[in-house]
């Protein structure tokens, strides 16, 4: 190693008092020629003191308390270094020489690393690892977490978003993807103003510009809120760097990127610029449906020095993205039919960090961010009809008869005439997130104790400037109602937080404790919910028994944490889109040329305010042990998440009567069909027929009244969801002779979700009873009208990774086997830990079995009754279902037949069987080779052995092939080249 660190520190003098303060200054040099590394950041994290090197590489940190100092120097393109020493006097002649980062270094990581000195469970994936795995979407990085699996979607050209999952998966209860917080350079990609309850799409983040990704599965600092399922912090490149050109090719994706960081005049800061073009296709056989990403990022940073040498670090960033999903050029689609979705982004961040280093304050920091994401989608479909099509646009309650667009373009019910047409629809979503943060910290050291108090406030606004769904030509707009996102008030969140971190050193031992609390006030103007407060206390602590000891167990520490996080509600919770029920009330016969004049009764649903609605929250607990045994680094983390009050909804039924007039009422009409004009009374629904010629008198048609239920949705809080994870990373000491190190990482994951909310149910709200009337009963089920109201799953995933790193030839080769040792799941039907439902003797039985009672005994059908039901005849009297059903069986055949429709049965006799999937695995390889100092080549292949084995499921004893299945990724590969100029 030519670029050895030369660290010259001359310490002399006597120890003065423990509260003495000194100046620490020196120079940072780097590279082969040991030139000054301007803008290198020199910091003492424990004291929140820092400085930036000037153009000569010089830095100075004043008023550093005497004693143990841990100094860190880092800069883009250089190896990060940490030095520890005892400070006893002013030290002004330090010289640090940083090594350029390349594969000639002894330690290069291509896996996730546990974040050092963090009081939570957090993993960091650096650029080298991202290059080595050829990350295309930042969500690919989760595969490097302990027990992580390679993402099976190997391109970006999907019609739906690709959000990131951290704690929990999309199939689980508790809105797992919605609860993940994603930040890019501090800019929160809030999903609160995205229609629905989903995660933020990460496809528009330029993967080539990511410097590192931190994935927090544990408890983040109180600085961070609005999450329940983990956090992802993405840091892009900033600082000086040579011109780097990157090219990546995969079967579905081509990417080219260029980036450079350069000084802006003498001492005027550094501008880093990165440009990326990525084009991904959905199918190799039809390479026309694409997702395109054209991303430009400018990141400016500078440090201003005042006369008191109190530096101000300023950081500005702006990112723009043009592109999106597009199937327009697909020749397999019918002419002029397509689906497009823009994914345009404008992200900006600005921060000012001022090191005051006063007795009463150390740093203050202001940050402002903005995130604008235009996801205007456009879909063109070809339509046709042989007769009039009713397009209902009514928003007020009442009866409406169809009118032709030419006669009344603003009619509540338009009749689209028979023929062919194109229907071009848009969904205009323009999410705008803004935030402003202020925080200050105060760090002091008293002898062996470091204390750091952090306090701050934050404003975050989530709004949507989109027009919602609309149509290019209202003549052909189908049944639809305007729901403009831009008319919904932004969700404003005001937060404050305070946190105290204490570090106490005693001999070789170290105690670190952080305790804080965060308060969120959600202000929802225009909503009944108004302002809602929530508090999130969090406490974590770590006891380091010893570090770097000369014994078998060199390092040993234990960490524990407890805390609460809160996920703020989305638009869909606060302003659920009004639903409309449209009942056909008049259906005259169709004329020979295909025309008819339907009438409908429109009933808007009501947004039901729930004063008891609570914000979704998560209680997180974790315990971790870190050790270094003879050079083998071991990390063991146990975490538990209990998500409460997940956002969900239920239907509230109420009776409703309307009039129906059919063709039979017209059969006695004396008015010829060609001369008829129909009118419907908007309030009463009575239909009259007028003779256009005036030859016949106006006729009032007879009708029949229909009474049925209508449903309104109400937001409620769901039942708790429990997740447990046991994760481990074992990094064995490198086998020096082979230049090879081995990592074994894995996790045990446990999930259990049981929904016990009582929800209403009708077997089929369009069904009639045997007497011809609409179904008149509503059942109330604890846990919903489903066979299983929850599930449990357990899994053990273990990954074996070998990494051969030969610095002399600048080569890294890694092979990773992703194993699923245990994959278990089971449908559950429970209420408060007790079995819900009963065994059926056969699939057609309606009564509980007399001889069997355990639905989990295997290979048997199971049924669930509603707890009770109500009838249209008396909505206020709940009737216990089981008793009435049993009585009706012998006393009222009609009632028995109708109530039997509410008995929910499992579809198969194996529905409640345990599902154990047999062992399976997949293997990936990666090779990165530097060609001299200026080029680097990576090759990566997933499932390179193309595993075609079969796995067996104990659920139904079926064996399925891994090929084309959902267990492992398909065989896939990619090649990338990076050139530094």
């Amino acid at each position: 190693m030519r670029k050895r660190l030369i660290f010259i520190v001359l310490f002399s003098g006597l120890i003065q008092t423990a509260f003495s303060q000194y100046t620490l200054s020196g120079k940072v040099l780097g590279g082969r020629k040991q030139t000054p590394v301007s803008f290198a950041i020199v910091s003492i994290p424990a004291l929140d003191l820092w400085a930036t090197a000037n153009a000569k590489g010089e830095f100075s940190i004043k008023e550093v308390p005497a004693g143990n100092v841990s100094l860190t120097i880092e800069y883009l393109g250089y190896e990060k270094k940490t030095y520890e020493f005892i400070l006893r006097r002013d030290t002004t002649d330090l010289i640090f020489i940083l090594n350029e980062f390349n594969l000639q270094l002894d330690e290069v990581l291509v896996t996730a690393r546990k974040k050092a000195a963090s009081l939570t469970t957090s993993y960091v994936i650096d650029r080298t690892a991202l290059d080595h795995m050829q990350m295309l979407n930042v969500r690919d990085a989760t595969s490097l977490l302990p027990g992580g699996k390679t993402n099976q979607t190997n391109h970006l050209a999907t019609s739906s978003a690709q959000p990131i999952a951290v704690n929990g998966t999309s199939g689980e209860m508790g809105n797992a993807l919605f609860g993940v917080a994603v930040e890019v350079d501090g800019v929160r990609l809030s999903n609160n103003a995205i229609p629905g309850k989903t995660g933020s799409d990460t496809r528009n983040i330029a993967s080539s510009n990511v410097e590192s990704i931190e994935i927090i599965t544990g408890l983040p600092s109180v600085e961070h809120g609005d999450m329940t399922n983990g956090m992802v912090r993405i840091t892009t490149r900033r600082g000086k760097s040579p011109l780097t050109i990157e090219m990546m090719t995969k079967p579905n994706t081509k990417q080219v990127a260029a980036g450079k960081g350069f000084g802006v005049g003498h001492g005027r800061g550094v501008l880093n610029m990165n440009l990326e073009h990525t084009r991904s296709i959905a199918s190799l056989t039809s390479p026309y449906t694409t997702y395109v990403r054209n991303n430009l990022t400018l990141q400016y940073s500078n440090t201003l020095q005042d006369k008191q040498r109190q530096p101000i670090f300023i950081d500005f960033g702006v990112t723009g993205n043009l592109g999106g999903y597009n199937s327009k050029s697909d020749p397999d689609l019918f002419v002029n039919t397509y689906s497009k979705q823009q994914d345009q982004v404008l992200r900006g961040n600005a921060s000012f960090k001022w090191l005051l280093n006063k007795r009463w304050i150390t740093n203050i920091e202001f940050t402002g961010t903005v995130n604008y994401n235009n996801q205007l989608s456009e879909v063109s479909r070809n339509r046709s009809a042989a007769s009039s099509v009713a397009a209902i646009h009514a928003r007020r309650e009442g009866y409406n008869v169809g009118q032709l667009h030419d006669e009344n373009p603003a009619a509540d019910l338009i009749l689209i005439e028979p023929g062919y047409w194109y229907e071009r629809s848009y969904d205009d979503s323009k999410v705008l997130n803004t935030s402003a943060r202020f925080k200050a910290n105060w760090s002091r050291k008293w002898g062996a104790v470091n204390n750091n108090v952090l306090a701050g406030g934050e404003y975050a606004g989530s709004g949507n400037k989109g027009a919602g769904q609309y149509y290019a030509d209202m003549r052909y707009a189908p049944t639809w109602r305007e729901y403009r996102y831009d008319q919904i008030s932004s969700i404003n969140n005001y937060a404050w937080y305070v946190e105290d971190k204490v570090q106490w050193q005693s001999g070789r031992s170290l105690l670190r404790v952080a305790a804080g609390v965060r308060g969120d006030l959600v202000s929802v103007s225009g909503s009944e919910y108004g302002g809602v407060n929530s508090l999130s206390p969090r406490i974590t602590g770590e006891w380091v028994f010893w570090e770097k000891a000369r014994q078998k167990v060199r390092d040993l520490s234990v960490r524990a944490g407890w805390g609460k996080t809160v996920k703020l509600p989305s638009f869909s919770v606060l302003y659920p889109e009004i639903g409309y029920r449209d009942f056909l009330t008049f259906a005259p016969g169709t004329t020979s040329d295909g025309k008819t004049f339907y009438a409908y009764y429109t009933m808007p649903s009501t947004r039901l305010f729930n004063p008891d609605l609570r914000w979704q929250q998560n209680i997180h607990q974790e315990v971790a042990v870190n050790a270094n045994v003879n050079g083998t680094k071991i990390t063991l983390t146990a975490e538990q998440d209990k998500t409460r009050d997940a956002y969900t909804s239920t239907g509230i039924y109420s009776p409703f009567t309307y009039k129906f007039t059919g063709q039979s009422s017209l059969e006695q009409s004396h008015i010829p069909i060609g001369n008829r004009t129909y009118t419907v009374d908007q309030q009463t629904g009575v239909v009259t027929v007028t003779d256009k010629t005036g030859a016949q008198p106006t006729e009032t048609l007879s009708y029949r009244e229909i009474t049925r239920f209508i449903s309104n949705r109400k937001q409620v809080n769901g039942s708790p969801v429990l997740r447990r994870r046991l994760s481990w990373i074992v990094d064995f000491r490198q086998i020096a002779a082979l230049k090879t190190s081995i990592r074994v990482d894995g996790n045990y994951y446990y999930y259990k979700g049981i929904e016990e909310t009582v929800t209403t149910y009708m077997p089929n709200d369009n069904a009639t009873m045997a007497d011809g009337n609409p179904y008149k009963f509503v059942g109330f089920f604890t846990g919903g009208a489903v066979s299983a109201n929850g599930s449990v799953s357990k899994s053990v995933n273990v990954n074996f990774t070998t990494i051969t790193h030969i610095p002399a030839i600048r080569l890294i080769v890694s092979a990773r086997i992703e194993c699923s040792l245990y994959d278990y799941s089971q449908n559950l039907s429970e209420i408060q830990g007790q079995q819900r439902g009963f065994v059926l003797d056969n699939r057609n039985a309606n009564d509980p079995s007399v001889s069997k009672s355990n639905i989990y005994a295997g290979d048997q059908f199971a049924g669930v009754y509603p707890d009770y039901y109500v009838s249209l005849d008396d909505m206020n009297t709940p009737i216990p279902f089981a008793e009435k059903f049993s009585w009706a069986k012998t006393n009222d055949q009609f009632l028995y037949n109708e109530l039997a429709k509410m008995v929910v049965k499992s579809n198969t006799n194996y529905y409640f069987n345990p599902n154990r999937v047999s062992f399976y695995y997949s293997a990936n390889i990666g090779i990165t080779k530097e060609i001299g100092r200026f080029a680097s080549l990576s090759f990566n292949a997933t499932n390179f052995i193309n595993n075609l084995s079969r796995v067996r499921s104990s659920w139904n004893n079926a064996a399925v092939s891994l090929f084309g299945g959902s267990n492992i990724p398909a065989f896939y590969y990619g090649l990338s080249l990076r050139i530094k100029v």
């Binding site: 019918f334 070809n382 046709s384 009809a385 042989a386 007769s387 009039s388 099509v389 009713a390 028979p418 023929g419 062919y420 056909l584 259906a587 005259p588 016969g589 169709t590 004329t591 020979s592 040329d593 295909g594 008819t596 339907y598 059919g662 063709q663 039979s664 017209l666 059969e667 069909i673 089929n764 369009n766 069904a767 009639t768 009873m769 045997a770 011809g772 609409p774 699939r843 057609n844 309606n846 009609f894 028995y896 037949n897 039997a900 429709k901 049965k905 579809n907 198969t908």
Partner: protein
Amino acid sequence: MKKVLYLMLCVTVLAYSCKKNDDPNAGLREVKVQLAYPAGSSFGVAANVVVKANSGTVVYEDSTDANGLASFKLPVGIYELSATDNRSEGGTSYLYNGVKSGVTVTGSWISTDVVTLTLTESKASQVVIKEVFVGGTPKDDGSGAFIYDRYVLLYNNSATPANLDDLCFATVAPYNANASNAYYGTDGELTYKTQGWVPAAQGIWYFQTAVTIEPYKQIVVALTNAVNNTTTYSKSINFDNPNYYCMYDIDDFSHAATYASPAASIPTSHYLKSEKYGTGTAWTLSTTSPGLFIFSPQGTTPAAFAANATLTDVLGAYTSKKVPVEWVVDGVDAYLLNNTGNKKRLTPTIDAGYVYHLNNQGYSIYRNVDKAATEAIPGNAGKIVYNYQLGTVSIGGTTDPSGIDAEASIKNGAKVVYKDSNNSTNDFHMRSKASLRTN
């Protein structure tokens, strides 16, 4: 030298692999099939009954000897064996049908092994399904097929008027012949075959008023969109006819694209009523491989039958009612052409065979003409039109082996008797143009 040796070796291997097999029967196994007639039947084994062995791609045929034994020479494979025998006595036509699926002929098949094919007895129907059109017609703009112009023709195949009181239409589960069929047991047989019922999925339709079909006449029942569809789709069907019937009951089935308000010319008394016990807003009769049957409830009404919870059969996503086989008047089981996943759904008493069907082309499933019976009707002389041209053999389908153009003959004044052996393989063919199409 090495290269030369390798070359010689390759040539030798190639030559050996191309060697002609002189024995045409090499690899074939002798398979004997014994027909078994139901106990108590007036009829028993006889010679010249055609037995078929269908491998899915090739159909082998042989005739029985006097002992009812047929003998095949078959390649190794899995076969469906079937036979149909038509006998008459005292003016009543008796049909004997049998199907045995999953007969596996292995390399170790012993030629002395005899497969017994059990036949079931049924009687020919007065009312038959003459035509089923569900596949849709090509749209004029080339964007695909219009699939909401489905209809069924019911035909009185006798010389006396036929009453359709309470006659119900049913769709069998699963809807598609090539879908996964959980009704098959581990023995490769339909589980309801021995239980005497057949599943009517989702819901049934029936006539609300008394309907009579005159001898050798038909009625049209529009299953969907009973309007003049030809104004938009020139190759489609015009249902704007006061004599037509239609399925229209928006209280149960309200899917707007499927159920446009029927043509004003169709009396509301011609609307069929539905009883729905499954899910969905449109009655599902497969557009690719329909399984349709008509039945007449005995001792109950259609509404009471559909409401009876004890007759419900739930299997996977299908909610059906158990229709006793003896209630079934007629049925047709269609297979999707060029698909190897087809499986029988109707039991032999209803339909012992199948007819291939292809959707989106305007093709229909049309009943074959009983040539002998038609030619035997006094007054048909000179009115029967031959040289039928609307078969689909050229695209892998079927044609009417009688060669009689039934529609042209009817227009010419002939009374047509259609073939009814309760075996769709014999009774139906795929017609290249639905009979109600005018373009």
